[in-house]
């Protein structure tokens, strides 16, 4: 693949020169997100769903629920299972087959945000203690990977959960009701490139950066999850700075899209 190597070198130079001038290819400031849109309840067959667009990135998240057995160590709590499909439709770099390392990490970080923020009231999802609880399947389906699918997926997950109706009547367990949501975790991702921190990277920016940090924050402004990825390093101060901005960004997104 020498041709694509050459192209990526040129692209890297181009983006690096922009960075020196304090610019990004699409004219955004370093801390600015691309345009966000969230369309809720797009899949009628799911108990909850949301289509998130982050610039041209598109992620569809569906939530399905069914009764099942609790884990032995949490007999009175519902269960969350998060899965992500990086289907080859979404990017030339995705391949069919079992989840890749990247897909597994993405699903686990999305899951961590929902779980550690205690977004879902799992105690309220116990049907028969120790015997039967609600199982929540959060399925993340990437449709178009134009960068930062992690933030988009995380946003899609909580947006879909916010629309979810517990399908009690379908299983003769009373009337349907809205899934009880207690917090709204938001993931915010930045990359480090040439000593600059850029938020919400697009696919080209992502490809040239060696380091990425995702910070997930709760409605009360606490941090409930972090994940560094990529084979680069971060300085302590850079981490603190990303955390600070992540808290701000998350607040904006939460208020604008999810508390309406």
């Amino acid at each position: 693949m020498p041709v694509s190597d050459v192209l990526s070198e040129i692209k890297k130079d181009y983006l690096y020169n922009l960075v020196l001038k304090g610019e990004r290819a699409d004219g955004r400031s370093f801390e600015q997100y691309r345009e966000i849109s969230i369309e809720k309840n797009v899949v009628r067959k799911a108990e909850g769903s949301a289509l998130v667009k982050l610039g041209q990135t598109q992620v569809l998240v569906g939530v399905k629920m069914q009764p099942g057995e609790p884990f032995p160590d949490t007999p009175n709590r519902g269960v969350i299972i998060t899965n992500a499909e990086l289907v080859p439709l979404a990017s030339p770099t995705f391949e069919p087959g079992p989840p890749s390392e990247v897909g597994i990490e993405l699903a686990r970080v999305v899951d961590r945000g929902v779980r550690e923020s205690k977004a879902v009231d799992l105690e309220a999802l116990c049907i028969v203690p120790g015997k039967q609880v609600w199982i929540i399947f959060i399925d993340v389906h990437i449709l178009d990977d134009c960068g930062n699918i992690l933030d988009a997926s995380s946003l899609g997950a909580i947006a879909a959960l916010l629309t979810t109706r517990v399908p009690a009547s379908k299983f003769d367990l009373g009337e349907d009701y809205s899934l009880p949501i207690k917090d709204i975790p938001i993931a915010t991702t930045a990359i480090e490139f040439g000593d600059v921190l850029m938020f919400d990277p697009d696919v080209d920016e992502q490809s040239i950066a060696n380091t990425r940090l995702t910070v997930i924050t709760t409605a009360s402004g606490n941090i409930c999850g972090m994940q560094k990825s990529g084979k680069g390093t971060l300085k302590q101060e850079q981490i603190y700075r990303i955390v600070d901005i992540a808290c701000e960004k998350a607040k904006e997104i939460r208020e604008k899209f999810l508390e309406a």
Partner: protein
């Protein structure tokens, strides 16, 4: 397919208000994905399906390469949340079969000899399923191929006929499929060359002839929608000659 007590017809209209020979509403949009070389989103009744085309591109693993032509791959996949009961992610036996017959529905019109040693990848994701996902997928995939600029001898359009309450119907929806007496999906070129035909259920030879006719009529209706959709997009762009050619 099973007997049931549902009344499928009332005053000559079907459960959703259609006549026997009527298609469900179709919505089609071309070029909906940024990363793919070609793409198309389709809604046929309750089905929501998206197709993407990548290629011609290099073949991996190499030993699949063909010296004289491009190979075509087709992956039909259902999202876990697309059906009533959550589907385990990944392919099952049904999706392997549908991928095969769908690929074979499109291969006859793709000019694979233009691109030796390469692959044309077609990916179809069913986001919401409501009977007829394979035909919806083929319709979207054919448009996505055109959108990707893949040279084709002609468009491919697909539609099913079914039998419910001893009556033949076009484009069965979920209830008609679940409790129907037969299902006969067809894909074809605008000239009526059939590239996919499958059937299950029970039909007399006479019914079979009628069902084939009916499904072919449905394909022709779909074709008009596909054509319009592509013309709209490419007339806006002042489409280059080969693209227009691609849709006919």
């Amino acid at each position: 397919m099973d007997e049931t007590d549902i009344t499928f017809f009332k005053d000559g209209f079907r459960l959703d208000g259609r006549r026997a020979e009527e298609l469900r509403p179709v919505k089609m949009e071309v070029g909906v994905l940024a990363r793919a070389d070609g793409s198309c989103y389709i809604e046929m009744g309750g089905n929501k399906v998206i197709a993407a085309v990548y290629g011609p591109r290099e073949v991996h693993p190499r030993h699949l390469q063909e010296v004289t032509r491009a190979i075509v791959r087709y992956r039909y996949n259902m999202a876990s949340f697309s059906v009533e009961e959550r589907k385990r992610p990944g392919p099952d036996r049904r999706s392997y079969e549908l991928s095969k017959v769908s690929r074979e529905a499109l291969e006859p019109v793709i000019l694979t000899s233009y691109f030796p040693r390469s692959v044309i990848d077609v990916f179809v994701e069913v986001l919401q399923a409501d009977a007829g996902t394979r035909t919806a997928g083929i319709n979207a995939a054919a448009v996505a191929l055109a959108d990707a600029g893949i040279p084709m001898k002609s468009m491919i359009s697909a539609c099913a006929a079914g039998k419910v309450d001893d009556t033949l119907v076009l484009d069965p929806m979920k209830e008609e499929d679940n409790f129907g007496q037969a299902d006969l999906p067809i894909a074809m070129t605008p000239n009526g060359e059939i590239t996919l035909i499958q059937m299950d259920g029970g039909l007399t030879p006479d019914e079979l002839h009628q069902a084939v006719e009916m499904a072919m009529k449905g394909c022709r209706d779909i074709y008009e929608i596909q054509r319009k959709c592509l013309v709209e997009k490419y007339s806006q762009l002042e489409a280059p000659a080969e693209e227009v050619h691609a849709c006919e």
